[in-house]
C-alpha cells in the first residue's frame, strides 16, 4: 500500500489551506421592495419574482 514518505509540515498544510476561499454571492436590489436578493431567484423578503408573488419563497431571519 502506498504511504506518505514524509510528515506533511505545518507550513505546507497551512499554505495549501490558505487557498481555500469563499466567494461572495452576487446580489441585486429587488425591484419590488429594494431589499438585496440573488439574481434569477424570487426575493426572499417579499417573495416576488417578475411581478408574481410566491409565498413559499419568503424567508425570515431564523427560518432560512
Amino acid at each position: 500500500m502506498a504511504v506518505p514518505k514524509r510528515k506533511m509540515s505545518r507550513s505546507n498544510t497551512r499554505s495549501r489551506r490558505a487557498n481555500w476561499k469563499a466567494t461572495a454571492v452576487a446580489t441585486q436590489a429587488c425591484p419590488q421592495c429594494s431589499a438585496l436578493k440573488q439574481p434569477h431567484l424570487a426575493c426572499p423578503s417579499c417573495g416576488t419574482y417578475a411581478g408574481r408573488h410566491y409565498s413559499s419563497a419568503e424567508r425570515s431571519e431564523h427560518q432560512g
Binding site: L41, S56, A57
Partner: protein, 241 residues
Amino acid sequence: MPTPTKGPRLGGGPAHERLILANLATQLFEHDRITTTEAKAKRLRPLAERMVTFAKRGDLHARRRVLTVVRDKGVVHRLFEEIAPDMAERQGGYTRITKIAPRKGDNAPMAVIELVREPVNAKPKRAVVAEAEGAAKKASKIVDAETAEATEVPVDDAAAADAAKNESADGGYGADSAAPLEDGSAPEGFTVKGNKDSMKYHVEGSRWFDATVAEVWFKTADAAAAAGFEPAGGESAQQED
C-alpha cells in the same frame, strides 16, 4: 420528445423515480402550484407538459394514457375539464419554474413549479417594434437635417437663433418639457427628470432619481409619457404622490 435523462435516477431506482414523478405530477395538477427541489422540478416539467398535451387532445385514449401516470381519477378529471381548456391557446410551455431561496437544513436549491393558466397575451414581435423605432429615428433625422439646412442659410441666422431659444425653452418635447438650466438643475415647476438615451423618466423621490442626469425636465409624469418616455422600472415605480 424530451431528452433522456443523464445521470442517476431520483430516489432509489427507476421505479422509485417513476413513483416520485407521478406523485409530483398528481400534486401539481391538483394544486396548480407546488414547491419542490429544483432538480425534481426540472425532471417533472417534461412529464407534466406531456400530460397537458394529452389533456388537450381530450379523447378516451389520451385519458387512459394519462391515467397510467396520474392514478387519481379526480385529478385527471380536473386536468381534462378545467386545466386543458385554459391551455387551448397555448402552444407548449404549460409550466413555469421559479427558483426560490435554498431551504433550511440541507441548503437544497428550491423551486416553485406552476401551471401557466393565465390567458396567452401575444407580445408584439420584436422586429415590428424595432422597425417602428427605426422609422421614428429616420423621421427625426430628416427633421434635424432640415433645421440644419435652415441654419446654414445666413439670412436665417436670427430665425435659427430664435428656433434654438425656443428649443431650450420647451426642451424639444412640447410645452410641458424644459431643457435643464446651465448647472443642470430644474427650471421652476419642473419635477420629472427625463433621460434621452434610455427614453425613460424619473419622478422625484423614485429609485434612480438622484442618480439620473436630467437631459430634459417635465412638469408631470403624464407629460413625459405623452412625449414618448417610458416610466423607469415600470409604471408602479414612477407614481407621483
